[in-house]
Point group: C2
Chain length 331, copies 2
């Protein structure tokens, strides 16, 4: 190994782990982060659900984003995948490559963010790796949950005749990022709402569990609504038609970007929403209404599944709206 | 999300996943990387064993290290932890942040390295995340294995009166790194051996399983022999005394660095060995000989566990050898 940084006066690797991360390892199988590995006991009748996702400074979060929100976002983008599959999260492993110039206060605040969301979602840190990097800080999380054996809804389950639904509001996070990037001076309430939706997604865990046995196909919306529905269309071998006017927009979004066609296309392709998009048969409408009410999660019908392939965005007269790029890719 | 790189002519994120990584997802629960998550069915009478570790370009591997060896090293540093705990690896999740200037051939060769070691160790890729980064390439792996329920040897199990053992040879990888860093021109056979020991650790999986029920405390040697034995001493609340002359050195190591005190201290503190250090009672000597022979793994007795605390390195007359730094830390 080559040492990239060792002469600064600050806490060392083991001190950082002992002081900030060991207290987060509440599960007994994490051994207080004092062993090489963690263990996890089985839950009868359940299967393990796994997801890994990384966020990179300057790519998925901004250098001046607050450290506690960076930590919580890193957790939540993974929890959102578990949510879309109706899984119950129990813990996570953290691989943290911290830029060598980062001071201890940043790490402390980062750990406070983890502690906050561990409480919110009932999680334990199960294992971790902390290293210094000469490059941007990179936070890689592997989230672990449980799902009743065989109950996991797949991307491939959509059937012609299904309706298409989405939770929450679409486009807020993309609008928040745009505002941060243009360093908008006109802040106000809508600004705060949109920026916080970018910085702190809300994984729809309760709704995801309520969709078990109702939804035919589910996905979490991270790359962009149309791009992610495209994954369902591809793996299910169907065509998905979305009504542009039906896409749920927040008041804050409309306040900042309006609701003309261009704004709607931005919302449907910007990504970072971390909502659940799913298909279900028309007979499930009542069950879905109850699931939405019981979990306090808005659910909106936005389109339908047909024979064919691909995803199309339609205007009020059923005419196709051209979309240049369905969503975000990391390359 | 902000796009850090999108104008180069090369494969996109989804093409890279489909072409290079999806074929590695052999386990059915990985869904061919075509869903948000992976699932893993339970093995009766076993518990899950988890480990995450990242390697960073310029910190844990060198920019001109061959991509297939980088991939295999990223896997093996995690498998080594599973090995030290007697666990049987089944799969892994991969979070890959690739420097934006990296071309497709590098990624292709990286995936070939993964494929090679998946075959060697019987693994499946269970999930992944691929993203471009403006910084150094960072490879984060979460390895998953199984261990018979309750059989996992801990760092905390060492008892006064135990003997201390280590597998393989110590110091080769540290010497290999030193040779690479000084850009040595006198290469030859010893050079090749040491460099390859740095680039490609050998996780001692068979030995680790054979140590179940024999070893009192185990750890994988990654930060440095003395540093890692220090973790056993600390969590077991014992003192560990190591005989410098007993530390097993390879012919290649002695050829390049000699076997004087300074070379031995280098070997015992350099890290990256990925051998198993462990303690066991004197009554286990015969069982250990059999385990070593059956698994084709050298095992050497190097010291003993006493009451007290800390780790000491002793010369032939029992006098303490001063050691400035017991091992490597990442900060």
């Amino acid at each position: 190994m080559t040492s990239s940084s060792s002469r600064r006066k600050r806490l060392g690797e083991f001190e950082i782990i002992a002081k900030f991360f060991a207290p987060l390892a509440s599960e007994s199988g994490a051994f207080g982060l004092k062993d090489d590995v963690a263990t996890l006991a089985h839950r009868s009748g359940q299967e393990l659900v796994l997801k890994t996702d990384a966020i990179v400074e300057g790519v998925h979060f901004l250098s001046d984003d607050p450290a506690d929100l960076v930590a919580r976002k890193a957790l939540r983008v993974n929890l959102s995948d578990l949510a879309a599959k109706g899984a119950e999260p129990v813990g996570y492993l953290l691989s943290l490559s911290i830029n060598a110039k980062t001071g201890t206060p940043w790490i402390k605040r980062f750990a406070q963010g983890l502690a906050h969301d561990q409480k919110t979602f009932g999680l334990s840190l199960l294992g971790g790796d902390t290293t210094a990097t000469p490059g941007p800080t990179t936070v890689s999380v592997t989230a672990i949950g449980w799902s009743p054996l065989g109950a996991l809804p797949r991307r491939s389950g959509a059937k012609p005749g299904d309706l298409v639904f989405v939770s929450g509001r679409i486009g807020d996070a993309g609008a928040g990022l745009a505002l941060l990037q243009e360093k908008s001076r006109a802040k106000g309430k809508s600004y705060t709402t949109l920026v916080s939706r970018y910085r702190l997604p809300e994984p729809r865990l309760a709704l995801g569990r309520a969709l078990r046995g109702i939804a035919h196909a589910t996905i979490d919306v991270s790359d962009g609504l149309l791009a992610d529905l495209g994954h369902i269309a591809e793996t299910s071998k169907v065509r998905i038609a979305i009504k542009a006017d039906a896409i749920p927009l927040s008041a804050a979004f409309v306040d900042k970007l309006g609701k003309k066609r261009r704004a709607i296309v931005h919302a449907a392709t910007a990504g970072d929403d971390y909502e659940i998009a799913f298909t279900a048969p028309p007979s499930a409408r009542d069950a879905l209404k109850r699931a939405a009410a019981q979990t306090g999660t808005p659910v909106t019908e936005i389109g339908r599944v047909e024979g064919g392939k691909g995803v199309v965005l339609l205007d009020a007269s059923g005419k196709r709206i051209p979309v240049k790029r369905a969503g975000y890719t990391h390359f």
